[in-house]
């Protein structure tokens, strides 16, 4: 119907654009608006009157600063652990393994995603029980003991959960690596280690950052793993979960913290070209 290419493009893009604007930006906006409202202190009903009290509460209570720092530590640790495991894994899959076996290896990396999130986390819960868990049985002959439930258990659980999200983008980045570059490096006398750190890593860096966006953001927002593996430990998601039914505006104000951290993170990695790799 529409002859001009521009109009055709517009009609094609309008639906996804509406989705983005209404569902995504709209809900973020609603989150922000909610955070500047009051509640009736007895019935918990939201009163649509302007207040900055929720932000004041978040900023002045030391507990919420501490929980933000703890959440950042967990998100960064999970991202680093995932990267450390995923880079050699992806390198092996993309460069060393026979091309025929690659689809099988990818399928193997993806298998954990076929199982329910809860099943996997409860499995970790059984393994991590302080005295009776599998991990304790494994380590105790060596003189160690299970870390029990807490921050370490949460980092282990989340690293396990989000690993495939790190492996896949890095694998894609390494597969694109031209053989000629590696050959050139070897011809010029670089040892494999030098080639890896001097050539492979810099070229695949945007892919690693792309993976880190997944692991970092997924860890920032998680609260279920924390409930199951955290013992008495809590993260930002738990604060939101604890408050949303009784003090929605306050929960919204807390929920803006990870949003802001993600905006800063995405802004700082934008120039690496990582966003093109997503």
């Amino acid at each position: 119907m529409q002859r001009s290419p521009k109009a055709r493009a517009a009609s094609l893009i309008s639906l996804p654009l509406a989705w983005l604007l209404i569902i995504y930006i709209g809900s973020l906006f609603a989150l922000f608006i909610t955070s500047i409202w009051k509640i009736d202190t007895f019935t918990s009903e939201v009163i649509r009157e302007f207040t900055l009290q929720n932000f004041i509460d978040v900023v002045t209570d030391r507990a919420y600063f501490n929980v933000t720092i703890r959440t950042l530590i967990v998100a960064i640790s999970v991202t680093l652990i995932c990267a450390l495991i995923a880079i050699p894994m992806a390198f092996f899959m993309a460069r060393i393994a026979r091309p025929k076996s690659r689809p099988v290896l990818i399928a193997l990396v993806l298998t954990p995603l076929w199982a329910s999130y809860l099943v996997k986390i409860y499995a970790w819960r059984t393994m991590l029980y302080p005295d009776t868990g599998f991990l304790n049985w494994l380590i105790s002959p060596l003189g160690g003991s299970s870390p029990g439930f807490g921050m370490i258990a949460v980092i282990i659980g989340l690293s396990y959960l989000w690993l495939p999200y790190m492996v896949l983008p890095i694998y894609a980045g390494m597969e694109k690596l031209p053989n000629s570059v590696l050959d050139a490096s070897a011809d010029l006398g670089a040892k494999p280690g030098r080639t890896f750190f001097g050539v492979v890593l810099p070229i695949t860096w945007p892919a690693i950052i792309a993976g880190s966006i997944f692991t970092f953001s997924l860890s920032m927002g998680d609260y279920i793993t924390v409930q199951i593996l955290g013992g008495t430990f809590q993260m930002l998601g738990n604060v939101v979960y604890q408050n949303f039914s009784l003090n929605l505006p306050f929960a919204a104000a807390v929920a803006l913290i990870p949003v802001m951290i993600m905006i800063i993170y995405l802004g700082s990695v934008r120039k690496t070209g990582a966003l093109d790799n997503l």
Partner: protein, 391 residues
């Protein structure tokens, strides 16, 4: 005994009901309650209930007291369940539900918010069977107006793993005191309402604080309760709100002692006795649930029939046994499958309940009748709890 405590509240409720009376033809102008008679009007009734309170056979084909109600009355029932009182309040405020099984910490918030209507008990013949110590209580009756019919009750008991906690505890001190033999294996309930459990312990151990009602704490008493919770923190392995997770933690030995429900102890003792459960000497917090009617309902006849049906002795017996709590109807005790059910849950022992403090919503106006101080309202409890848990 407690008349006049909620005068301010009642005034607001009265205004609310008057306003609502204007737009609801079913409300009687005088008391706000339905004048009756209950007619045979068919309709669709939306029920908001604790899991296990309104079973229609979908959980277990043998557990069904909704279908007989539908067949007898011509009212179609839709059931929506919720996990916490706070969620219940939120759903009820959203509208669309005709009746709710509210615990005491939800009911006052809903009454005050104008979400519920007074109930004319003359229209509910089965009300006569209700235990006297559940009638006209502050969580179901405001300023002399009844807001519903009691369903059942339970106490938050002290549970301990047999063989791991010796001797068997009789006091809450094992979960509060720094020299507890169960250090690192204690659990506590993960909700702001647990602050009341600290207050119950302070009532016995620090009488100089003058706490008479764990839900009516002035700032000094509240701070003492929070300090006790901070003292407890190093003892705690996990805070619980999901009871299946709790059961697993006890079976694995991660938790050996802490606050619990009788139903949890029963599940743990299903195959062989593994835990004991007592109501300690200090008393305990507990819950008492009431079926209430929405102020906005359009199926008032079905709502009254539901309230009457749910406290019918045999239905009340089935529901109490399925959920694991003491039934509200005294005649239900003779009709349970397990003839010891009422004994197990202390349904008929008045003394047992005298130091069980049922969940209520704390308000600024002290619930214990003091007028010289202001009490800490529930919103502040929630704030303090959230801050405490994330310290």
């Amino acid at each position: 005994m407690r008349v006049g405590k909620h005068r301010k509240l009642a005034a607001l409720v009265a205004i609310g009901t008057l306003l609502l009376a204007g737009c609801s033809s079913s409300s009687d102008e005088g008391s706000g309650a339905y004048a009756g008679p209950v007619k045979d009007t068919p309709g669709t009734i939306n029920v908001l209930a604790w899991p296990g309170y309104a079973e229609d056979g979908s959980t277990d084909p043998n557990v069904d007291w909704v279908t007989p109600f539908e067949e007898a009355t011509g009212c179609t029932v839709n059931v929506k369940t919720y996990g916490t009182s706070d969620e219940a309040v939120q759903l009820m405020q959203g509208g669309g539900y005709d009746v709710i099984s509210a615990s005491g910490d939800a009911s006052l918030r809903l009454i005050y918010g104008g979400d519920l209507q007074p109930v004319n008990l003359d229209l509910i013949p089965n009300y006569v069977g209700i235990f006297d110590n559940l009638k006209d209580r502050p969580w179901n009756t405001v300023d002399g107006k009844n807001y519903g019919v009691p369903h059942g009750r339970g106490a938050n008991v002290l549970q301990y793993t047999l063989g791991k906690v010796n001797p068997a505890p009789t006091s809450w001190s094992i979960v509060w005191e720094p020299n507890s033999p169960a250090k690192g294996k204690v659990t506590a309930y993960d909700s702001a309402i647990y602050i009341a459990d600290a207050a119950v312990y302070l009532m016995a151990t620090k009488p100089e604080l003058g706490i008479t009602d764990p839900y009516a704490l002035d700032q000094t008493q509240f701070d003492a309760a929070m300090a006790l919770l901070a003292q407890q923190r190093p003892l705690v392995a996990e805070y619980w709100s999901d009871y299946t997770k709790y059961i697993g933690a006890v079976q694995s030995g991660n938790i050996t002692v802490g606050t619990s429900w009788q139903v949890i102890a029963n599940v743990l003792n299903g195959e062989k006795a593994t835990v004991g459960a007592v109501k300690p000497v200090e008393g305990a917090t507990g819950w008492s649930d009431t079926w209430m009617i929405s102020s906005k309902t359009e199926v008032i006849d079905c709502a009254y029939k539901w309230l009457n049906h749910i406290i019918t002795p045999d239905v009340n017996a089935q529901a109490a046994e399925w959920f694991g709590e003491a039934p509200a109807n005294s005649k239900a005790c003779a009709l349970t499958d397990n003839k010891d059910h009422c004994k197990l849950y202390h349904a008929e022992e008045t003394d047992y309940w005298s130091n069980v403090y049922y969940w209520k919503t704390p308000t600024e106006e002290c619930l214990d009748g003091r007028t010289d101080v202001k009490c800490v309202p529930y919103a502040e409890w929630v704030k303090a709890w959230s801050s405490f848990r994330n310290q």
